[in-house]
């Protein structure tokens, strides 16, 4: 048997009916009576319902056992009845219903040999090729239901190629399911899943797709140093290739702090932060981390008023707490270089200022915070380097190296993002007002997002502003997190595409599904995903929710993505030469 005929036979087998519609509706989902054994259909199956001139597309969200009388289900009949009679009785009195979440409908028109074909063709002559529409009506009773074929999947999710990036395959039929990368970067997105559910691998796959397709510049805030250089999988011990290895010319690794190394390798750039780049709002973000008081804002405002935006940090750092001198009367008074002296001069609360000064020691003492980068006035600003690289179309992975504390992550991430926001706003305004070049889209991938986007932080940080507003300025977020319930609701509601692996916590499941139609039907599906194997795609960025078997991040993935085999190692080359 040839490949084409075996594929055709397999496809024909896949197109066979699996049931027929028996009830339901738009709100309550549709019910399909199965005509094949229940073990041949699984939750998450992508099904097509054919009704007249329309095709309806939906997702299996539940399978329910039923019987025409509960007594048939409760009493096994075999001892009383013959095998034939038992089988026939079971076939007619016991059944399985699928609950199908309908999502899309597509007008196909009648078959070419149908009597009304000519009339229908004339009526639709002026229209372009029909597109799937959001579901607005229901299929008729007894509409034939089947599993989606390769053509159906391609019709809805696009043919692989170009901006259509294969993110996984349908579980039953192994048909490729794509996401449109151009659409993906137009809104903020999220990748969710419990620890160990394969979230990092999924992120690598999507980042690789974005870099390969060059849909946007990517900035990855790599808190755990996972994405840049080659790594080792924590559970299997297998090597995991880094994005730098596969995209050496496009990806730049930035390490935090001078002389930092990432996995014993030297990054392309070391990030040091000028004290003049730190603004008061960057410190206010750290309120919970530094245990700051309500008086912090007033104190910071006074500092800026006295020393300016670029000088307040250095000046405050150089002040001393508790420093006193004796005045002419022999009384101890605050020394001119003390916090209290400045506070009294500026009209700020001295105790509050001293308290803030003490708490900010943790920030003052960060090794990567410099009065000037490299202590050289002529030295370039590494923050600006990163911005320039992103503007030029390169991709930056900021690895935090040995700086693993929440303080480092919060301070650096928000500061960098704030500068990005300012830059892209300028670029966009220039584009719109003066016809300059259109800004290059930028996606900021944020790991451990709940630390930056929780309810307490979200209203203060640049990240929430980006999630809410920045798509107009070509900047979106890619949130990567295992506790979506801790992310601010307003941010979650702004997410376009959501890719979720297994989640066990009810609150996390509810958070991922918030604001989406059919969330009640999808709730159980998230808790029953196979970890590291299956993910659920949903949200604005995909035509309809769908469960896929995620791609493997392996050699085959890279060969398919980059269209060539992996570069040969030196050992392989020597072996070929006979050494």
């Amino acid at each position: 048997m040839t490949n084409s005929s075996s594929t055709l036979k397999a496809d024909n087998a896949m197109n066979r009916p699996i049931g027929y519609v028996v009830g339901g509706g738009l709100k309550a989902n549709l019910f399909v009576r199965l005509t094949i054994p229940a073990d041949q259909v699984q939750e998450g199956g992508f099904v097509v319902l054919e009704s007249g001139n329309w095709q309806f597309y939906g997702l299996v969200t539940d399978l329910q056992l039923g019987s025409s009388d509960p007594r048939y289900a409760e009493l096994p009949n075999t001892p009383r009845l013959s095998a034939l009679t038992s089988r026939l009785l079971a076939e007619q009195t016991l059944f399985t219903n699928l609950e199908v979440l309908p999502a899309l409908m597509l007008e196909r028109g009648p078959a070419p040999d149908a009597p009304d074909y000519a009339d229908w063709t004339r009526a639709h002559q002026e229209e372009n090729r029909s597109r799937p529409l959001p579901i607005k009506t229901v299929p008729a009773h007894h509409s034939v239901t089947r599993l989606a074929s390769a053509g159906d999947v391609a019709e809805i999710f696009g043919e692989p190629g170009g901006a259509n990036f294969i993110v996984g395959r349908t579980r039953e039929q192994d048909h490729p399911v794509c996401i449109d990368l151009e659409k993906f970067v137009q809104r903020s997105s999220g990748i969710f899943g419990a620890t160990g559910s394969g979230k990092s691998f999924l992120t690598r796959i999507i980042l690789a797709g974005l870099i390969q397709h060059d849909a946007a510049s990517i900035l990855v805030l790599d808190m755990h140093n996972e994405y840049g250089f080659d790594d080792t999988a924590s559970d299997t011990g297998m090597p995991v290739v880094g994005l730098k290895t596969k995209f050496p010319g496009k990806v730049r690794i930035v390490g935090l702090g001078r002389a930092s190394t990432i996995r014993n390798k030297t990054p392309d750039l070391h990030l040091e932060i000028n004290e003049s780049d730190i603004h008061p709002e960057d410190i206010e973000l750290l309120s919970r981390e530094l245990n700051l008081r309500e008086t912090t804002s007033a104190t910071l405002d006074a500092l800026v008023h006295t020393f300016g935006y670029e000088g307040w940090f250095t000046a405050f750092k150089n002040m001393k707490v508790g420093s006193v001198i004796e005045n002419e009367d022999g009384k101890k008074v605050p020394a001119p270089d003390s916090v209290a002296y400045w506070a009294n001069e500026a009209g700020a609360n001295a105790m509050a200022a001293e308290g803030l000064r003490n708490k900010m020691n943790r920030v003052f003492n960060r090794p990567y915070v410099m009065e000037r980068a490299g202590n050289d006035p002529a030295a370039p600003n590494s923050l600006n380097h990163i911005i320039d690289a992103l503007k030029a179309g390169q991709h930056v992975i900021l690895s935090f190296g040995d700086y693993e504390s929440d303080l480092d992550y919060l301070l650096v991430s928000n500061l960098l993002t704030r500068k990005i926001r300012e830059t892209w706003e300028e670029l966009t305004n220039a584009f719109r007002s003066h016809g300059s070049n259109e800004p290059r889209p930028l996606v900021i991938a944020v790991e451990e997002s709940h630390k930056l986007l929780n309810r307490e932080m979200a209203s203060q940080t640049s990240f929430s502003t980006i999630a809410r507003e920045m798509r107009k300025y070509y900047v979106t977020l890619l949130i990567i997190d295992q506790r979506p319930s801790q992310i601010y609701d307003e941010v979650m509601s702004q997410l376009g595409t959501r890719v979720s692996g297994w989640l066990g916590d009810e609150n996390d499941i509810a958070a991922v599904l918030s604001g989406l139609a059919g969330r009640d039907a999808l709730r159980g599906m998230l808790a029953r995903l196979q970890p590291k194997e299956e993910v659920l795609l949903l949200g604005w960025g995909v035509p309809m929710p769908i469960l896929v078997r995620s791609r493997r991040y392996d050699q085959k993935f890279w060969e398919e993505l980059q269209g060539r085999s992996a570069p040969r190692t030196a050992t392989q080359n020597l072996k070929d030469l006979g050494f």
């Binding site: 025409s68 009383r80 009845l81 013959s82 034939l84 009679t85 026939l88 009785l89």
Partner: protein, 198 residues
């Protein structure tokens, strides 16, 4: 086609009839057996035997109390008695011009019309005319012993079909289940009885 009549009609309506037979007929029909009644107008009616009655008379009542009854007296009584063996038959369909219908007969047979047993080929011919729709006439008649009648009938159907190389009684069982699945006690009763023949 069997040509030996087993009896004649006593009384009838459009749903059933009662036939009378002589006691010692060699081909006495059995409970559940399928019979046919050809009418003079070209119609042929099909039915199932659902009851067989042998009534007593004054002589039999006296002979029963006798200390000994000789063989000759018994044979004489059976051969020559004036009371026929009565068989109740429920109609299950009819045929005209070779076309079979599993619905109520359009006209009843007349008194003294002859009744014939169905051969295996006649049974198969009748079944081909429908999809066991006549079973509803049996199953919904509360005066009939549905489980036992169906069992006997399906046993005959199975024998006829096996002889023809076809499947057994699967289609009939499907129809029974479809008709009775909302009546659990009756269905289980019928299926338990029918299971005896498999």
């Amino acid at each position: 086609m069997s040509a030996i009549a087993i009896g004649r009609l006593l009384r009838s309506n459009t749903s059933s009839c009662v036939i009378g037979c002589r006691v010692n007929q060699q081909n006495s029909p059995l409970f559940g057996e399928m019979l046919r009644i050809p009418l003079s107008n070209g119609l042929q009616i099909y039915g199932l035997v659902h009851e067989i009655n042998i009534d007593d008379d004054g002589l039999v009542r006296q002979l029963v109390t006798a200390p000994e009854v000789s063989r000759e007296v018994i044979e004489d009584n059976r051969q020559n008695r004036n009371m026929p063996v009565e068989m109740s038959v429920v109609f299950i369909g009819w045929e005209r011009d070779g076309r079979v219908s599993h619905t109520r007969v359009p006209t009843p047979p007349l008194s003294l019309d002859e009744i014939f047993p169905c051969t295996a080929s006649e049974i198969l011919h009748f079944l081909e005319g429908g999809k066991f729709g006549y079973l509803r006439a049996i199953l919904r008649n509360s005066e009939l012993p549905a489980a036992d009648l169906l069992t006997a009938h399906l046993r005959q159907v199975a024998a006829a079909r096996q002889g023809a190389g076809a499947d057994g009684v699967e289609a009939a069982l499907r129809e029974v289940i479809a008709l009775l699945k909302d009546d659990y006690p009756v269905l289980m009763d019928v299926l338990s009885a029918v299971s005896e023949i498999q």
